[in-house]
Amino acid sequence: MTAVIEPMDPGRVDQTLEAVHRHATRLLTQAPGLPRRVRVRAGDVSVELEWPVVESGQATTATTVAAPVAAPVASGPLATEETVSEQVSQIRAPMVGVFYRAPEPGAKPFVSEGDLVEPGQQVGIVEAMKLMVPIEADQHGRIVEILVANGESVEYDQPLFTVAPLEVE
């Protein structure tokens, strides 16, 4: 038996993604702070943003905003949870040394995959001769992948994190 997969018109997918991307960006720029999570779906076309709500010591009650998009999608669900932006960037080692994900052994990591980061936010440490050099995000984005394990040696400029940038104006 042969399965025939109808290829989608790449131009239309791009258009849809671009429209979704524009919506997400507009919502982000209007939002009061950075959301905890951004979910973009191109199949059923939806954009979901979640904010942590801090109320009487209780964190992370979610607010969801859904935005419909006019452009229809050809066929089949196309879930693209991470594609807020098509190009990804990298956060690189500021120095040769040992990479750490957390401020101290056993502590919660600075960031995990899927987290959103903002410019200047610490995401890790490189230790060189007892000198702790902070690694910081240089733009708004989502941590897509952590490329180096905790405690591994890294070279200068070695990619440590893959980040999907978010355009926040």
Binding site: M95, V96, G97, A128, M129, S153, E155, Y156, D157
Partner: protein, 453 residues
């Protein structure tokens, strides 16, 4: 012997050290900045670690980065080459503290000899001849004037922490002393963070002659003859040769004995160079000690047959010197020309760029130490040394003819790239150089003459 050596340098010397390691069966680790990612030593070495961006203070002179690279690569010793961290006592100390052998003198020796005033005092105590000058740093204009009355004019004011021709001023007359003193102190403070200066008689017509020594950890030391480095431009050497023309062998022998005595007096370990000035009557005066392998070390290797870098490695690994003084019998003459990516027509400004053509000399008794090749991009970030051409001959005349032939074969081309080959050829043709009567002012004289044309 070591298992794995990290080479904390770049350019031709990094490759030179890596080759010595390979011949000794020692694994090599290159370190490099982002500017040098495509360099020859990165490909040649068994491992390579990227340690930082272009600026040396964040890469080749960055102590934590070098140490981390050594740890990461599993090196057991670090060769610092020349320049960068090669004579930094802090670096030597950190290496030892972190469990890596520093291939050079101990930190305490580097600290004492790096202070020129201290080094002079120790060498004077060891009986080496000194130029009239102030044994201690001079603190005030009044003190400087009193000292100058004894030293005489012209004199030179030198920064205690200075080197490489920086932080010094020649004073011709007593009237200029106060200003020059204040300016040199200010320069020294700005350049080296240490404003102390001392005064010394200035020899207008002198030769720069240096003695190569090797000393092991067990109180054995030998000298390996003398090099003349009088062809200089602003104290940057352009041509070096051995034996020094016009200096009698008996004088070279005396200088060698003095250098060995000086080295033993300060518990020196490793390869080192004692610099002297030699006046027209062949009287010599101690200047300073360079506690590293030097750019011009190949000329000594050519006439002695001793691989100085291999000896550095053996000494640092704790082996006793296998050479005795009577084993060292220099034979013939050797010359080195430094080919820089500089434009002599524009005051020797560096000319970085990409080499489209790079064809090195070859043939009998010619050695070329270089990291460059066709397609190599000369970065603007570092010193402009592109290649060292070294030749050997049974006598000085043959060596000069051979060098002229070799330089004539050198082809270096690239957009915007200039080089010093033609200028070096002009030095070789000069009658004063050919007859060996030139002094440290030859290059300035050549320029004055070409302007007069």
């Amino acid at each position: 012997m070591f298992r794995r050596v990290l080479i904390a340098n770049r350019g031709e010397i990094a490759l030179r050290v890596a080759r010595a390691c390979r011949e000794l069966g020692v694994e090599t680790v290159a370190v490099y900045s982002t500017e040098d990612a495509d360099s020859a030593v990165v490909r040649y070495a068994d491992q390579a670690v990227r340690i930082g961006p272009g600026p040396a203070r964040r890469s080749y002179s960055n102590i934590p980065a070098i140490i981390e690279a050594a740890r990461l690569s599993g090196a057991d010793a670090i060769h610092p080459g020349y320049g960068f961290l090669s004579e930094d006592p802090d670096f030597a100390e950190v290496c030892e503290a972190e469990g890596f052998v520093f291939i050079g003198p101990p930190a305490s020796v580097l600290a004492r000899l790096g202070d020129k005033s201290d080094a002079r005092a120790q060498m004077a105590a060891a009986g080496l001849p000194m130029l009239p000058g102030t044994p201690e740093p001079v603190e005030s204009v009044e003190e400087a004037e009193a000292a100058a009355a004894n030293i005489g004019f012209p004199l030179i004011i030198k920064a205690v922490a200075g080197g490489g021709g920086r932080g010094m001023r020649i004073v011709e007359t007593p009237e200029d002393l106060a200003d020059a003193f204040a300016q040199t102190r200010a320069d020294a403070l700005a350049l080296f963070g240490d404003g102390r200066v001392y005064l010394e008689r200035y020899l207008r017509s002198a030769r720069h002659v240096e003695i190569q020594i090797l000393a092991d950890q067990y109180g054995n030391a030998v000298s390996l003859g003398a090099r003349d480095c009088s062809v200089q431009r602003r104290r940057q050497k352009l041509v070096e040769e051995t034996p020094p023309p016009g200096v009698p062998a008996s004088v070279v022998e005396e200088m060698g004995k003095d250098a060995v005595r000086g080295a033993l007096a300060v518990d020196y370990v490793g390869a080192g160079t004692f610099e002297f000035l030699v006046d027209d009557e062949n009287r010599y005066y101690f200047m300073e000690i360079n506690c590293r392998i030097q750019v011009e070390h190949p000329v000594t290797e050519m006439v002695t047959g001793v691989d100085l870098v291999a000896e550095q490695l053996r000494i640092a690994a704790g082996e006793p010197l296998s050479l005795r003084q009577e084993d060292i019998v220099p034979r013939g003459a050797a010359i080195e020309c430094r080919v820089n990516a500089e434009d002599p027509a524009r005051g020797f400004i560096p000319t970085p760029g990409r080499l489209e053509r790079f064809h090195t000399p070859a043939g009998p008794f010619v050695r070329v130490d270089t990291h460059a090749e066709p397609g190599y991009r000369i970065p603007p970030t570092y010193d402009p040394l592109l290649a060292k051409v070294i030749v050997w001959g049974p006598d000085r005349d043959t060596a000069i003819r051979r060098m002229a032939r070799a330089l004539g074969e050198f082809q270096i081309e690239g957009p915007g790239v200039r080089n010093t080959v033609d200028f070096l050829s002009r030095v070789l043709r000069d009658e004063r150089f050919r007859t060996g009567v030139h002094r440290t002012n030859l290059v300035d004289t050549l320029f004055a003459e070409s302007e007069a044309d």
